[in-house]
Symmetry: C2
Subunit: 355 residues, 2 copies
Amino acid sequence: MKAAIIGTSGHIDLALEVRDRMPQLTFVGVAPGSADEDAREFYVDQLEASLIPFYDDYRRMLDRETPDLAVVAPFFFLQSRIAAECLERGIHVFVEKPMAVSLEQLERLRRAHAQGKAALCPMLSYRYHPAFHAAWRAIRDGLIGEPLLMSAQKSYKLGTRHPMYTHRATYGGTIPWVAIHAIDWIYWFSGGRLTEATAAHTQAGNRGHGEMESAGSCFYRLANGGSATVSFDYFRPGGAPTHGDDRVRVAGEKGIVEVVNGEAVLLAHDAAPRRLEKEEPLSLFQEFVRSIEEKTPLRISATEAFAITEIALRTREAADTRAPVSLRAAPAGTERTDGAGAVPLARSTGTPRAG
Amino acid sequence: MKAAIIGTSGHIDLALEVRDRMPQLTFVGVAPGSADEDAREFYVDQLEASLIPFYDDYRRMLDRETPDLAVVAPFFFLQSRIAAECLERGIHVFVEKPMAVSLEQLERLRRAHAQGKAALCPMLSYRYHPAFHAAWRAIRDGLIGEPLLMSAQKSYKLGTRHPMYTHRATYGGTIPWVAIHAIDWIYWFSGGRLTEATAAHTQAGNRGHGEMESAGSCFYRLANGGSATVSFDYFRPGGAPTHGDDRVRVAGEKGIVEVVNGEAVLLAHDAAPRRLEKEEPLSLFQEFVRSIEEKTPLRISATEAFAITEIALRTREAADTRAPVSLRAAPAGTERTDGAGAVPLARSTGTPRAG
């Protein structure tokens, strides 16, 4: 299988780090997502020695190298357009999240994917993180009962970020970029049953990063009467031991499961607190390639990825407008045509070849 | 100073535990807050040996013993009425939270307090908890910069609770009873600058406790553009080492302060994480008595206690109605008269003698 890299602004390390374990995969080219993206610097630093060809123009690369798969990580606002272009050419796409920075972009990508020519997988990789997967397994196995209360945290170091981050138009916002992972957890743990979002975000304290939001909170109602909150920020001190401080806590009548510091712990009523056993780490990218080759399902389907991205974008809208936003799927046949966002959640989208 | 106890349904241990350290205080009587409250059982178990007289009727006790101070902890829905009655008699009041279970009750209590005859202090004791006070001090000293993001947790064991808890009318709700402490933290740490509440609560999983909410979430906008969330539940397993799992995390541009497991930890940009030094524990009740005797200010003023109680009641309304509720104080001279809640926040109320 031939793979190409388009853009180096996202986590293409997710794809590169497993190269040695994937003899069936050959990287056939690297190109920036746009002329103003300095992909060559990354290329020289990381890839030149591997003799992968560099292209200035990704379309020429796609024409010349005819890859089976593209790793798409340009400036964030270009992700959906380039991903759609690849899908329309029949090229499978591993795309940085958020898959789109507007609902309109997302709908165009959805239409491209619905043609059924190729598979699509976003870099929402937590379902393959051993601690998060252990928590999900505990919930699925009924160890906490019905999940009625969730709280999640994403805290990152700020550092000095590329100017792309400093404009909403190119970055998309911190809810779609950072909080989306916590939204993924809540979606996963609740079976997608989020019904309403309220949110706030602020640019205060962003240390010269223009329009980039430094912090905020999200609040969700769940269909089972429960609720969930997310706290997200770029305030993690530079000297902290890890880049991110990811946490989630899910409580139900029978117990509480929590992920902190990369470990999942279960507090059940009838037992002492115990650390949950974790599987070996799996690579989302490797599993994506396998799902293409063997038609095995991924833990995150394209349909779910569309729904999660849409929830992130609608949550951003809730924060921008300071008003609650409904997340309920429009009933079949009543798709909105008012232009305010015509995408019902979790709609079946053609034949998602990657599960 | 003579003290009487009215009702034994709340944390009167807060008053009793420091008796030995307060020679100036004599307990002169114990009475139930209502005929159906079994205060005698508590009396026999805890107080009979101390020769404190038991009364069936608290009014007769107040007439006969003429206490200077009353510890008021009847069924929750009676707290405001009995507290107001004591204040009107010129008796200082140490009252279980919430001070009232409706905005109308709260307004009547506010009027009674505004007569300026006696001091009022609610059992909102966290400002005297060493770890929480250490966190507040770090914030006050600017160690995290402007606090822009807060997340808080109150998690309690459920056990089997008195039927009083199973009716909204007698209990008031889990937001005013449990989440109010987290609201107190947010109010304290933000300088009272909460502007809007959104909330959810559920009765699911309450194990036969009728209308009592088992869990929920609150979301607040702050005047500085920041936000805060609260997670509260009765899902803490019976076997857990402590009754409650209290947590709060406050983040700003310069760092993050967090209270977990009774310790406060500061993550600052320019230093390794460090545990904050804690003062010796102080008793809210003892400080209240001292504030009456010496006119020293308490860390929580009656004005603040009214504001926090009102926020808790308005947050409950937000959860009941599933709609955001404004917490902004009405500008002076524009007090609402529509009966929907005429109490602007943080209004100065006469002469709060207890600070």
